[in-house]
Amino acid sequence: MKKSRGEITFQIINTVFMVLVCAAMLYPMLYVLGHSLMGDAERALNPLRLFPHKLDATGYKYIFTAKNIWRSYGITLFRTVAGTLITLAISTLLAYPLSRRDYPLRKVLTFVVTFTMWFSGGMIANFLLIRSLGLTNSYWVYIFPHLIDPFHLIILRNFFMQIPESLEDSARIDGANDFVILTRITLPLSKAAIATIALFTAVFHWNTWWDAMLYVSKRELWPVQYLLQQIIASANVFDLSANSNMVRPPAEAIRMACIIVVTIPILCVYPFVQKYFVKGVMIGSVKG
């Protein structure tokens, strides 16, 4: 089919617009990356330049000698891995009975779960609870309060419900109990949903910082995002317990280098998980 002139004009404008959108998405990250690698003089004199003329990685060198950053990275890694695994285990265990049409408590329990999506005790009540439980200043405060996300649980339950009951029934006739059915039949058939929820949980744990702000005053236990929040927000940039023999680079260099160091791991994993990410939003958009 021959394209009209209006059609071609639209295509061109649309393409240009999309290129601009992409540029707007990438520019902030590239700008900070470029400036994190500049020397002070160059950075101060060239606010508009994107890439450095001369590479200067003082900011990075400084951070890499800082013990705090690595310890915080360890905490973040711990909460991401342990948090995701425990969440998956407990969520699947709860989602399975809720997906069973013959389970008498199904309706009540589903309501118990969904009600928490609409009403919550809020920040203060949670804070008082955590404090009464003695969970402040411990690793576990990063994991237990976030164990199950009601949205994810409902997604999982809905996914389990789509599995044909005949499969489970035939296994039951062969003498399998509910736990065997869950681990041998339901879970292998739900890989996509599990992967998606694992991804969202992991991203949540990687990016969450406010629980450290609320519950953890010991800086050895801060995850890397909260350490970054402190470095960005406060003037206290040098409190990284880095090698004291080193000359301190300016705060700006450290801030930028920190932002990049915290962001890079996510960007490295992103291409591999993008598939699940898109799939997950689709599953999630199915009515709960």
Partner: protein, 301 residues
């Protein structure tokens, strides 16, 4: 009863850890909201201190409604929600419609991949990037300097702060938001487009008369979800970006509750605020759901 336990003992056992979690970490805090009616500001005492605290009725509610904070917090929350509805809500719909018009699949995929990235960054990182970009040594002020204009510290500017919140939110979430709409668009029957083409419809007519109506259901659902959240504030976003010079336009319920309740230890007073907010939110969700059902949508529950 006996039969229930015998037949479903394993399922009951599987439910147990999850149920314990919901009771302890979701329902106990809801019960904890009773301190809104009590005088509990003690740092010590734990659970017993909360239970033993004096009952003072609606005193803290009255204090809050009479305070000047109340109108400021409500105003800021409503203005920010309104702006979000006006700009952040339609942005992904528009982007999805335009993405759908790209004929080169490789180019379309690349645009999608790039626009999803910011969704994976934490608000701490986004706020950090923003501070640098609009800071006094950043590119925006660099550009102003080239035209001989004095630098503006946007992050502390009452005039610009709301715009920064909206722009940064669009930047972070617009790509992610398109996924749902693109999925709906991909479900449109191609024959409709072909028939329209035979009738001589141009690109815009197809967009308005075929694509847009076919995603109206999902747009409605997303709108309901958004309406239900009208009183919930983006605590993470605002907290990482604001400072005391912009409290006037940026302070919302959650940030105030954090500063006064957690930092200032006024637990009962801030619980009263939380309770008001939660009840109104719950009401809004039920209301919008009902409205959606009246309008023929399935609703959320």
């Amino acid at each position: 009863m006996k039969k229930f336990f015998r037949k479903y003992w394993l399922l009951n056992l599987m439910v147990l850890p999850g149920l314990a979690y919901f009771i302890l970490f979701k329902y106990v805090p809801m019960y904890g909201l009773i301190i809104a009616f009590k005088n509990y500001n003690g740092a010590a005492g734990g659970l017993k201190g909360i239970l033993d605290a004096d009952f003072i009725g609606l005193t803290y509610f009255k204090i809050f409604f009479r305070s000047e904070q109340f109108s400021r917090l409500l105003r800021n929350t409503l203005i920010l929600s309104g702006l979000r509805l006006l700009f952040c809500f339609p942005a992904p719909i528009l982007l999805a419609l335009l993405l759908n018009e790209i004929t080169n699949q490789k180019f379309k995929k690349s645009v999608q991949t790039i626009t999803y990235i910011p969704y994976f960054l934490s608000w701490v990182v986004v706020a950090g990037l923003l501070r640098i970009l609009v800071g006094t040594e950043g590119p925006l002020n660099g550009l102003r300097a080239q035209y001989g204009l004095a630098p503006v510290y946007y992050m502390a500017s009452v005039k610009h702060f709301r715009a920064l919140l909206i722009i940064s939110e669009i930047w972070k979430t617009v790509g992610y938001g398109t996924i749902v709409y693109l999925a709906a668009i991909s479900g449109v029957d191609m024959q409709q487009y072909e028939a329209a083409e035979l009738d001589g419809a141009n690109r815009f007519q197809k967009m308005f008369y075929i694509t847009l109506p076919s995603i109206s259901e999902i747009v409605a659902i997303m709108l309901i979800l958004q309406m239900g959240k009208i009183l919930s504030d983006n605590f993470e976003q605002i907290y990482t970006m604001y400072s005391d010079s912009v409290y006037e336009v940026a302070d919302v319920f959650e940030t105030y509750i954090y500063r006064t309740g957690i930092v200032g230890s006024k637990f009962s007073y801030t619980s009263a605020i939380t309770l008001c907010k939660s009840v109104v939110s719950l009401f809004l969700i039920l209301l919008t759901n009902k409205a959606a059902k009246k309008l023929g949508s399935e609703g959320l529950f």
